[in-house]
Symmetry: C2
Subunit: 73 residues, 2 copies
C-alpha cells in the first residue's frame, strides 16, 4: 500500500519545515525522499509517536544528528 | 493513510537486510523506523524507483553514506 501511495504522490509533500528541535524519543520514523520530477526538494518527513507528521529541514544540523542517532541505536 | 498504516504495524517489517550496495540514484525514498515496543530493531526500508521495497542494514557504512548523500543534495 505504501508503494501504491508513492506512485500517486506527484507533488512535493512539504510546504514548510518545522524549525524547532524534536527529541528523537518522540519520533516514530523518519522518511527521506529524494528530489525528482515530482518535487525539486529533498523532503524529510518525521512521524511522531502521537501520529503527527512534520516536515524537517534536510540541511539543519539537528535533523542530521537525529538521523544519526536513530541509525546508531 | 500512512499514519493509519503505521498505527497498525505492530511487528518488525524486515526479516532480512539487503547486503549489496544500491546506487542512491535508484532510490526513491528511505524510511528509518525507531525501535520500540513493536520491534526491537531499528529498521531502514528503501523504496526503489522501480517500486520495490528493500530492507537495509542500519549500521552498514554504505547505508549511512547513502542517507548522507540524500540529505546533502
Amino acid at each position: 500500500r505504501a508503494v501504491a501511495r508513492m506512485g500517486t504522490e506527484l507533488r512535493c509533500q512539504c510546504i514548510a519545515t518545522h524549525s524547532k528541535f524534536i527529541p528523537p524519543k518522540s519520533i516514530q520514523d523518519v522518511k527521506l525522499t529524494q528530489s525528482g520530477p515530482h518535487c525539486k526538494n529533498v523532503e524529510v518527513i518525521a512521524t511522531l509517536k502521537d501520529g503527527r507528521e512534520v516536515c524537517l529541514e534536510p540541511t539543519a544540523p539537528w535533523v542530521q544528528l537525529i538521523i544519526k542517532a536513530i541509525l546508531a541505536k
